[in-house]
Symmetry: C2
Subunit: 275 residues, 2 copies
């Protein structure tokens, strides 16, 4: 087990939470009291939610949209997280992937300069291209498998030799690319049947699950279908529904509690079926 | 024909060149005389090569690897290009793609703040997700189809309903996603046979062709297989072989000339076959 994966598992167990809080901070949408200060708002969200969070996941697009200023806010947010909450997994939702020599530059940017534990990646160029990420054994590579968007199946659902493309990606990730045991997959909450199927392919590999909340994913369906054999192994992200809540702490706590109730129900149903 | 596509075609015709110069500036590798100043080096490369360039293509990874400073260098390079060489196509080689609402943020960053004419995109989330890019009718979306890396076929070559996945991407791009006529495709120079095949699918759609030079792609094979019916329609990128040349102007001119000789040979062979 690698550092990033171990960090996630230890944190999720320690606080009994599979909740990942998305830090997709849109400067135009933060409350007036912050005066447009993205870093101050991020610190506020972190302090309101850290007790319930096994992971934080800023999406790069929201920072890049503000250029060099956005990058500085992201770097400062990461410095704050590393200092104050070093036990919480940090995921750079960057959805990168290029040829190998270029990926080495991205790995430097995300893992070394920004100091993230994990990054999200596109699989389209294959395992050879993403090796500069995979070879960072202390970091996690989280590969897009079945995404949460309505049109995901246009390519991901294509029949590729008797099974959908996303299942080939899951299989390659689990069985060909995972020499360091540091791969996770992105599986959208809006496709719960696929979540059930992916568990048969990847065993107990942790899954990052976006799409709860604003995108319409259902907590019960995710927990019924996605848990690993230990009753964990999910990193369930919510962004807008927590960041834009009147009381982010209450929203994070309520979602954590919802998720845990659904976990207990799923575990009982599973025991019933096994007995 | 949209602004970005028209801009490319007009420039390529005006200077009789299909050469795209990659600005993949690694601060650690620029000559000592620039004192590590990436912007000054970029301006130097631009002034040495613009007479031969139909396009410039910075790869984002090289700028992100230097954080906020890198972003500022990229923004300043773009401001310089827009002011001094507004007739040359600018391609942001970012290889992005996320869900729709996030892609809207990336489009703002790349098209509005940085002011690029075009961006490279992953196809894995499908046409629905990348709509915020496609709907910018004045900008070009350049979608990864068959990439130049050695392991490209691991996924791209999978049989997807009787043809390889990359051909499905080409077909969707040309026939389902291209309402505004502003799509181009990435086709690696290292796979010339695929270049021939893609022309049958996409007609005269412009193709961005990386992989000449350091990656080993062959100019003759690219020109023999990739030209459109007008004897153009390619944007052939070289990065390291020009940026790191002792004389970047001579290297750019020589490659432009090589490409044009190969174009003429290909055109003659084509006429011979047709007659």
């Amino acid at each position: 087990m690698t550092d990033a994966v171990a960090k996630y598992r230890a944190r999720a167990a320690a606080i009994d939470s599979l909740l990942c809080v998305g830090l997709d901070t849109d400067a135009a949408k933060i409350p007036a009291q912050f005066g447009g200060d993205v870093l101050a708002f991020n610190k506020h969200i972190i302090e309101q939610t850290y007790a319930f969070a096994c992971a934080y996941k800023p999406n790069m697009a929201y920072y890049e949209a503000r250029g060099a200023d956005g990058w500085r806010d992201l770097a400062d947010t990461m410095a704050y997280l590393r200092e104050r909450h070093p036990d919480i997994l940090t995921i750079c939702d960057a959805k990168r992937a290029d040829i190998g020599s270029t990926n080495a530059q991205y790995a430097t940017a995300v893992f070394d300069h920004l100091g993230f534990d994990a990054i999200t990646l596109h699989p389209y160029l294959g395992g050879e291209a993403i090796r500069p990420f995979l070879e960072r054994a202390d970091k996690a590579s989280i590969i897009l498998c079945h995404t949460s968007n309505p049109g995901a199946d246009e390519l991901q659902g294509l029949d590729a030799g008797g099974r959908p493309l996303w299942q080939v990606v899951a299989d390659r990730a689990a069985n060909a690319w995972n020499a360091h045991g540091n791969i996770m997959l992105v599986m959208g909450a809006t496709y719960p049947e696929e979540l059930k199927q992916v568990r048969r392919i990847v065993g107990d590999m942790p899954l990052l699950v976006p799409g709860i909340g604003a995108q319409g994913g259902d907590v019960d369906a995710v927990m019924a279908n996605g848990l690993d054999r230990g009753g964990g192994g999910l990193i369930v992200n919510a962004s807008r529904s927590i960041q834009h809540a009147d009381d982010p702490a209450a929203a994070a706590r309520a979602l954590r509690d919802d998720m845990n109730r659904a976990r207990r129900r799923a575990a009982r149903a599973h025991q019933y079926c096994e007995s």
